[in-house]
């Protein structure tokens, strides 16, 4: 199947899949109980509870409630967030931008460091650098993110005061416009070096925390793949032809080693967004994760439904992109077969 046809087929299936996911999640959240609780106080009378239910159409039958919700989605109205005390649609873009910025920063850390470490270890197999890399990889995979983050917080923020917590210094944040919601990009657009540095400085601790676990996974995958490639006949042939070792590595072995690694990278980046919840809570990062943690605890179903819908779209699109990259890297891959 041609790549173009494959993409079209996947895009057509996307809304159908999303509809199915939304029905399942809507039903599951309602099984957990009425969403009215997040809008109540414990001293409300039954009459007052009924007024609240009528305000949010929660007094209607379930299929009617779902229809109201779906209609709202098409109109850009995702309901009222009891946690944020604002329409979900109003709060979501800024939160999404914050989480994406953190996830991208963590991904940059994870991919750059992971590929570099994996390559470094792969060409020095069973030597000291390889062993050290293995220790880093195991610790990255083993250390609970929450614990690691709190240790960084205590050492580098609370005690040393080297790094800040949160996303920005308030005065600097207020000094520039935020057309995209991505602090780094907005700082560049505003031409503010101070704001850019402020953005990057605030990203250091949470992105290291979030990305460290992924570094381990990517480094190990890259190392294993590279070792396997370096043992292939074409590498021996390239060396026999007199090609410098760095070119053998850069143009041949590493490129082929990237094929399986890219798959892992794709999955890892998707999971970074989920792992962002813990990092956001620890570092007071105003993203989706922290908002979602509060929403789950407090039963804010409007927020939960929007998040699930959004992450479903993200996962489906991410998988599609990975499949396309995979096909591009390896022409032997047949799509849709």
């Amino acid at each position: 199947m041609q790549l173009r046809d494959y993409i079209i087929r996947r895009l057509i299936a996307l809304p159908i899949l999303l509809l199915g996911v939304s029905i399942i999640v809507f039903s599951l959240t309602r099984i957990a109980g009425s969403p009215v609780g997040v809008y109540l106080s414990h001293e409300m009378s039954q009459e007052e509870v009924l007024q609240i239910e009528q305000r949010y159409n929660l007094d209607k039958p379930l299929p009617v409630q779902y229809a109201y919700w779906l209609r709202g989605v098409f109109q850009g109205d995702f309901g009222w967030s009891g946690v944020a005390s604002a329409p979900v649609a109003e709060v979501f873009p800024a939160k999404f931008a914050a989480t994406m910025e953190l996830s991208v920063a963590a991904a940059v850390v994870a991919v750059a460091l992971g590929l570099w470490l994996g390559t470094y270890a792969g060409v020095r197999r069973n030597k000291m650098p390889d062993h050290i890399t293995r220790i880093v990889a195991v610790s990255g995979a083993s250390l609970p993110l929450f614990w690691f983050g709190i240790v960084l917080l205590i050492v580098f923020w609370a005690n040393l005061g080297w790094f800040p917590v949160g996303r920005s210094t308030n005065d600097i944040w207020e000094s520039i416009a935020h057309p995209t919601g991505f602090y780094t990009i907005d700082a560049i657009l505003a031409g503010s070096w101070t704001a850019l540095m402020d953005a990057l400085w605030h990203l250091v601790l949470p992105s290291i925390t979030l990305g460290f676990g992924a570094v381990a996974i990517i480094a190990r995958m890259m190392r294993s793949s590279l070792i396997e490639e370096l043992q292939q006949d074409y590498v021996d042939a390239a060396r026999a032809k007199g090609l410098p070792e760095r070119l053998v590595l850069k143009r041949h072995a590493r490129r082929n080693a990237l094929v399986p690694t890219v798959t892992v990278i794709g999955l890892t980046i998707a999971f970074l967004m989920q792992g962002a919840i813990a990092a956001e809570i620890i570092f007071r990062w105003p993203g989706l994760g922290r908002w979602m943690a509060s929403a789950v605890v407090r039963g804010d179903q409007a927020t939960i439904m929007t998040y699930v819908l959004f992450t479903s779209v993200l996962f489906l699109v991410a998988n599609l992109i990975v499949d396309i990259i995979y096909a591009k890297l390896d022409p032997r891959v047949r799509l849709g077969d």
Binding site: G33, S34, V36, G37, V38, Y39, L40, S41, H42, E43, M44, S45, Q46, E47, E48, V49, Q51, I52, G82, A84, S85, A86, E90, A94, W116, Y120, V123, L153, I154, W157, A158, G161, V165, G166, T169, N170, D171, I172, E174, W193, T194, M197, D198, L200, W201, V204, E245, R246, L249, I281, I282, R284, P286, R290, W291, S294, V297, R298, G299, D300
Partner: protein, 552 residues
């Protein structure tokens, strides 16, 4: 990877690090004139007609709006605010029949939008609350009491009550619901619609207060700027509330100097004591008794599986008294509250008018007396299992666990199941009538007048009296109701105090709650803040940032 490539990578990393480090000093001077406060709860709304009593929004409303009267630090005495005098019988501003209150108003006051404050705004503000009558609000503090509001002239406002009410000034004029809004601003932005919130007013306060709201980033922070046109004493610094913070992160942030003040509770005092530059301040007690309710109105088949008590279990006063005697108050106050707490009488909090320090209280565990009462009630040999529902992860849950330990230590046949649930589930469970649990734990809503507590938590026909069926348990519900009604109507302070003292004795003999303690009002702040003072009658966190000066 070659050595050359490794060196190139190292150079790039060093350059980036140098850039970041050089940028840090440029950011270190910020927030010098802004008090940064680590808050516990973000407002749901800033509309006085919508705000829930005790919710986070009241603290912000307190700073951006004024009311006709106020209380200052250190005393519960009412002070003039937008009204220039406190109505009394002596100054003639309360009519002879006690039904009409006249408020002379302050001239030359402007709202944040520049419009002039007049009596029309007062009438509009109060009428608006009554007409909107939102279920989450405290509209009943006005709608249940007021017969008519009147504009006498531009600077004289009058209100006539349905009946004589000694608590009117504290219960209806002082609370945040009675804040004065700009009529022009409301009318230009959605007006008043019965039963419907006003979205504009929810996040755009236009008041006369010492602060004005400048930004509100949902789930992140909220900034108040000093109102340079304020009619009263100008605030020293701006304020920024930071939200969504884990309590541990708040404490760390205070120690790191990122926050100037934080909301905390007594359990964190140990983490802060001795920390460099941190001062722990405690003054008085919060007016929110931590209580456990007894349900005397349990519906058939409603109790959780495993509960073995009969539906009329708590009708027996001996059972209720036995629970009160069995509770380990010392463990709760000195453990969970780190010593910052005190038990109050039923049901008048310490610090509220009429509190009688000589009133009998349940403040000492007496297991022998509890056993005697349980035996006399006939439940000793068979035992019982009962569930208490509570918000999980809260101070209230700790109170329930202490109750569990206390009761189960008496008799192996006694069992308390602590059903910790999410806040939303708890709120929904308690909104049912009748409640489908035998016991539940929470804190009372703060109020400035004893009648608010007595009517809500003790009157057989009051809010909880009706839901919990107090009439099924009181020895003489009619007498209790009549006494509480009389307290509400008595305008002579001395006579009223005597009646409230009597009520505390009556309610001790016939308790409808188990009161664990009143939590101490505790806050922590950096030593570069001067003027720190807290007042439990101010909305939680009981702070007034207009009085604090940051000199970092």
């Amino acid at each position: 990877m070659s050595k050359g490539e490794t060196l190139d990578s190292a150079r790039w990393a060093a350059a980036l690090a140098a850039g970041l480090i050089l940028a840090v000093p440029a950011t270190a001077q910020d927030a010098r004139d802004t008090i940064v406060h680590g808050a516990d709860e973000e407002p749901a709304t800033l509309d006085p007609a919508q705000v829930e009593p005790g919710a986070g929004g009241e603290a912000v409303i307190f700073h951006v709006y004024d009311r006709l009267l106020a209380v200052g630090p250190g005393s519960a005495e009412l002070l003039p605010s937008l009204a220039t005098q406190v109505p009394t019988r002596d100054n003639g501003l309360i009519s002879e029949d006690g039904l009409t209150y006249t408020f002379p108003l302050r001239e030359g006051v402007t709202f944040h939008d520049g419009t002039a404050f007049t009596a029309d705004d007062v009438k509009y503000s109060w009428d608006r609350v009554i007409e909107m009558d939102l279920p989450e609000s405290a509209s009943d503090i006005l709608s249940d009491k007021i017969a008519e509001t009147r504009v006498v002239d531009d600077y004289t406002f009058e209100v006539t009550l349905n009946e004589v009410d000694a608590s009117f000034l504290y219960s209806s004029v002082l609370p945040m619901t009675a804040s004065i809004v700009s009529q022009d601003a409301v009318e230009a932005n959605g007006g008043v619609v019965a039963g419907e919130p006003n979205e504009y007013m929810s996040d755009t306060p236009v008041g006369t207060g010492p602060y004005r709201l400048t930004t509100w980033n949902r789930t992140e922070n909220l900034t108040l700027e000093v109102n340079d046109d304020y009619w009263g004493d100008m605030a020293f610094d701006h304020v920024r509330w930071e939200f969504g913070l884990d309590p541990d992160v708040r404490v760390l942030g205070l120690r790191a100097g990122e926050f100037d003040t934080v909301e905390t509770d007594p359990s964190y005092v140990a983490d802060l004591e001795g920390a460099e530059g941190v001062i722990i301040y405690s003054e008085g007690l919060l007016l929110e008794p931590l209580h456990i309710g007894f349900n005397l109105n349990i519906p058939e088949g409603a109790l959780p599986e495993g509960d073995t008590i009969p539906l009329d279990f708590f009708h027996d006063v001996r059972i209720r008294k036995a629970f009160n005697h069995a509770f380990d108050y010392n463990a709760f106050i000195n453990g969970a509250l780190a010593g910052f707490g005190q038990v109050n009488p039923h049901y008048v909090p310490i610090g509220v008018f009429g509190y009688d320090p000589d009133a009998p209280i349940y403040d000492t565990q007496d297991l022998a007396e509890a056993e005697r009462l349980f035996r006399e009630a006939g439940v000793w040999d068979e035992g019982f299992t009962v569930s208490v529902v509570v918000e999980s992860g809260s101070l209230f849950e700790i109170q329930c666990l202490i109750l569990k330990d206390s009761i189960e230590s008496l008799n192996p046949n006694f069992r308390i199941n602590v059903a910790g649930v999410a806040e939303a589930v708890f709120d929904e469970a308690l909104s049912q009538n009748p409640v489908e649990y035998a016991m539940w734990a929470k804190n009372g809503d703060p109020a400035a007048d004893p009648s608010a507590y007595l009517e809500t938590y003790s009157h057989p026909d009051g809010e909880w009296g009706e839901v919990h069926g107090f009439a099924n348990g009181y020895a003489d519900p009619g007498a209790v109701g009549a006494l509480i009604d009389a307290i509400a109507e008595e305008l002579d302070a001395t006579v009223r105090a005597g009646m409230i003292a009597e009520a505390q004795q009556v309610l001790y003999d016939d308790p409808m709650w188990l009161i664990g303690a009143q939590e101490g009002a505790v806050t922590a702040y950096r030593d570069w803040i001067s003027g720190m003072v807290i007042q439990p009658l101010w909305p939680r966190p009981s702070m007034n940032f207009a009085l604090y000066d940051k000199a970092q």
